[in-house]
């Protein structure tokens, strides 16, 4: 129901986007909802498919291998250094789509709004989504809006779903990973999580770190074109690099061995983590990827990545090893060895 209705002066009073708030009528299926969709959502997201105005968007697809991915976005605060829930909701799903090597095509968006949410904030968020969708060439072609009572939501939640088409012959999957392969990361880790934490009310610290939230479709396009032998890619979001590598180790029944020295961590991120008792390996990223490729392709892949602005700080951070326990281990900067386990519980700031 996010589709744009054919324009008309159906609404005598324009929506007061500056001062208005979401109320229950905006989710009722009536004219107030139609107006919200037309004057706020569609005015930013405008595209031909959305404008069809039906319950679904229709478009032509070529035959081939399609991918589909979805993510719910519940970030708090909604606006953070380097982005907001709008841009994040596009990047988060586009990145999951492109980790398959696919060219992303279209997005859908489902909004769950909390009664009382300022329309001005919603407007900023939708504008930011529109910009991100434009950047990635993935229009939001269909959507839905629900309103929940105050105290039953958190401002706005956005679930996006994306589809894409994988270039012929390409098959990237976690189970392709083999001992001997090299592990690459596309840049500095932990920026997103630290930027979010820096803006949380009760942790307030100041830093110049901004979220790394960005779409990786163009970097990925270069990578798979030049090195189609890549085994798999994954974006280390929640749970960070540590959890992503454990996932892959598990999926491929291998172990992973990392070099702490090789992992790019900004000094500020390192410092913020030390202050809060966190480990950058477990901190979320929203514009980075882990790639695993055969050892003999690793240097080439690294060069391809470094040649792209979004991969300029890429590094080979370790290798895949045989390990029936699927452990991820790391040689520390100090020369010792440690396990890099799954995240246990939550990443909470701690005092000891």
């Amino acid at each position: 129901m996010l589709q744009r209705k054919p324009g008309s002066k159906r609404f005598p009073m324009r929506l007061n986007i500056k001062k208005g708030r979401v109320d229950m009528t905006h989710g009722s299926g009536g004219r107030a909802m139609a107006q919200l969709i037309e004057e706020l959502f569609a005015s930013h997201l405008d595209n031909e498919l959305l404008a069809q105005g039906n319950d679904q968007a229709a478009f032509s697809v070529p035959a081939g291998r399609m991918v589909m991915s979805t993510d719910g976005h519940v970030v708090s605060p909604l606006f953070f250094p380097g982005g907001d829930i709008g841009s994040l909701s596009v990047h988060g799903t586009v990145n999951d789509v492109v980790m398959s090597g696919a060219k992303p095509l279209y997005l859908s968006a489902s909004f769950i709004l909390e009664e009382g949410f300022p329309l001005a904030d919603l407007d900023k968020i939708v504008a930011s989504m529109a910009k991100a969708a434009e950047e990635t060439g993935t229009p939001i072609v269909t959507g839905d809006t629900k309103v929940v009572e105050k105290g039953k939501g958190d401002g706005v939640f956005i679930s996006t779903t994306g589809i894409g088409i994988v270039p012929d012959g390409l098959i990237l999957s976690g189970d392709q990973v083999q001992p001997g392969d090299k592990i690459l990361v596309s840049g500095y880790i932990g920026d997103h999580g630290v930027a979010i934490m820096s803006s949380r009310e009760n942790l307030e610290f100041e830093t110049s770190i901004a979220s790394d939230s960005q779409p990786l479709h163009d970097l990925v396009a270069d990578m798979v074109r030049e090195v189609p032998e890549i085994r798999c890619m994954r974006d280390p979001t929640r749970g960070g690099v540590a959890s992503t590598l454990n996932e892959l180790a598990q999926q491929s029944s291998t172990g992973m061995r990392l070099q702490e020295e090789a992992i790019p961590v900004r000094p500020e991120v390192h410092a913020a983590c030390e202050l809060l008792g966190l480990d950058p390996l477990y901190v979320a990223n929203e514009g980075k990827l882990i790639a695993i490729c055969p050892a003999d392709q690793a240097e080439k892949l690294l060069n391809v990545m470094r040649a792209h602005p979004k991969g300029q700080d890429a590094a080979i951070i370790g290798e895949v090893v045989e390990d029936e326990h699927s452990f991820v281990t790391m040689e520390t900067v100090f020369g010792g060895q440690r396990i890099v386990d799954w995240l246990a519980g939550e990443q909470l700031p701690r005092i000891c």
Binding site: N202, F327, G335, L348
Partner: protein, 379 residues
């Protein structure tokens, strides 16, 4: 990071490792108890044990404030939130520590209790100011390092006239615990290891100074070296301990002199003195009742004492039966001696406090040692 990176250098580690290897007497063994979880963490995080000769062994002590808090105290915090409808402000560390009936603060929160994670006592005060209609209780845990901030908060609350703020005090004292370990015959026997020396607390000592250790170094004839929490600090202090042992000395030495002075932080001490007084006795997980080992809020600050303000049930909550935390905290057993370790009890499903705190021995064994165990099994 200045004063940090220098003390984590791989180069320095190599040099100190060589020196330690050169210094040890191959005909004897050295059992070094690191009292503090901070040291335990550094040893595992950086693989310090790997750099030690085989005859130098670290024995992990009870110096983790999260680990030593007995279950009834966590039950009480939950009771404050649930029965007394208070907002409980807790450091993140306590959130997942098992209480009785398979509960924890995080589960109580999921069940609807208003439990908030704070980073500082300042945050708790702010929450009290922002919620004048609610009782706000700060769940105070920690050793001498963490006590002064609680004292400051109580004094600030008084100055602000905050009537809805109180502190559930669980602050404990380090020297009392170390002394207890050395004193109790059953504890000394139990472990079948005799401790040759102590790595003394770093941050606790920054408050209390190095003097408080003099008494028991002399009384029990055990050397103490106060050590920083960086891995080179641990190695250097271990070297200093080995030298004392070799030379038959039992002195208090201070490796962490960049922060610790003999007399400590007198201002902090006097604030603590003003707000808190000794408890006659306090239960430590693993150690049982230890006399004069904890603090309580003085009568004159009674208004800010959650234990006086709220009527609390005396919980009889106990550790999971097979959990060996008590013995592990005494240095008498290793995590791998526990039947639950790594099977039922993991960091995702902690059965005891030692598996929750990143300073707990079980968590450290699991997170940083598990791959070694696996290698051993394979071998």
């Amino acid at each position: 990071m200045k004063y940090v990176d220098e003390f984590r250098s791989k180069d320095g580690a190599k040099k100190l490792a060589t020196e330690i290897a050169r210094t040890v007497d191959p005909n004897r063994s050295y059992h070094v108890m690191e009292f503090c979880g901070g040291h335990t963490h550094a040893i595992f995080r950086y693989g310090v044990q790997d750099l030690m000769p085989d005859n130098v062994q670290f024995v992990h002590g009870p110096g983790c404030p999260v680990c030593v808090l007995p279950i009834p105290r966590i039950d009480a915090a939950i009771e404050l939130a649930e029965r007394h409808d208070a907002i409980i402000c807790s450091y993140g560390d306590m959130m997942r520590v098992p209480a009785s009936k398979k509960r924890s603060l995080i589960k109580a929160k999921a069940d609807g209790a208003d439990i908030r994670m704070v980073y500082s006592t300042q945050d708790a005060l702010k929450i009290a100011q922002d919620n004048p209609d609610r009782q706000v209780v700060f769940f105070a845990i920690g050793f001498e390092t963490t006590t002064p901030p609680s004292a400051v908060a109580i004094k600030q609350a008084q100055a602000l006239g905050l009537e809805n703020f109180s502190v559930f005090c669980n602050h404990v004292l380090t020297p009392a615990a170390i002394q207890h370990i050395l004193q109790a015959p059953d504890l000394r026997d139990f472990g079948a290891v005799s401790i040759d020396g102590f790595l003394g607390p770093s941050h606790v000592s920054s408050i209390i100074g190095s003097q408080p250790y003099d008494y028991f170094a002399q009384e029990f004839q055990k050397p103490v070296v106060i050590a920083g929490f960086e891995p080179l600090d641990v190695m250097q202090a271990t070297l200093m301990l080995i030298r004392q042992v070799n030379e038959g000395r039992f002195e208090v030495e201070n490796e962490y002199s960049r922060v610790v002075t003999p007399e400590g932080n007198l201002k902090a001490q006097s604030l603590v003195q003003e707000v808190f007084e000794l408890r006659r006795s306090f239960e430590w997980r693993g150690l049982g009742d230890v006399p004069y080992s904890a603090l309580q809020i003085r009568e004159c600050y009674a208004a800010f004492d959650a234990e006086r303000r709220f009527d609390l049930t005396k919980s009889k909550g106990q550790d999971v039966k097979a959990c060996e935390c008590p013995a592990i905290l005494r240095g008498a057993k290793k995590p791998t001696d526990c039947k639950l370790f790594g099977t039922v009890c993991t960091p995702d499903n902690p059965q005891g406090s030692c598996m929750v705190s990143s300073e707990g021995s079980c968590a450290a064994y699991w997170s940083y040692g598990r791959f070694r165990l696996a290698q051993n099994q394979v071998a």
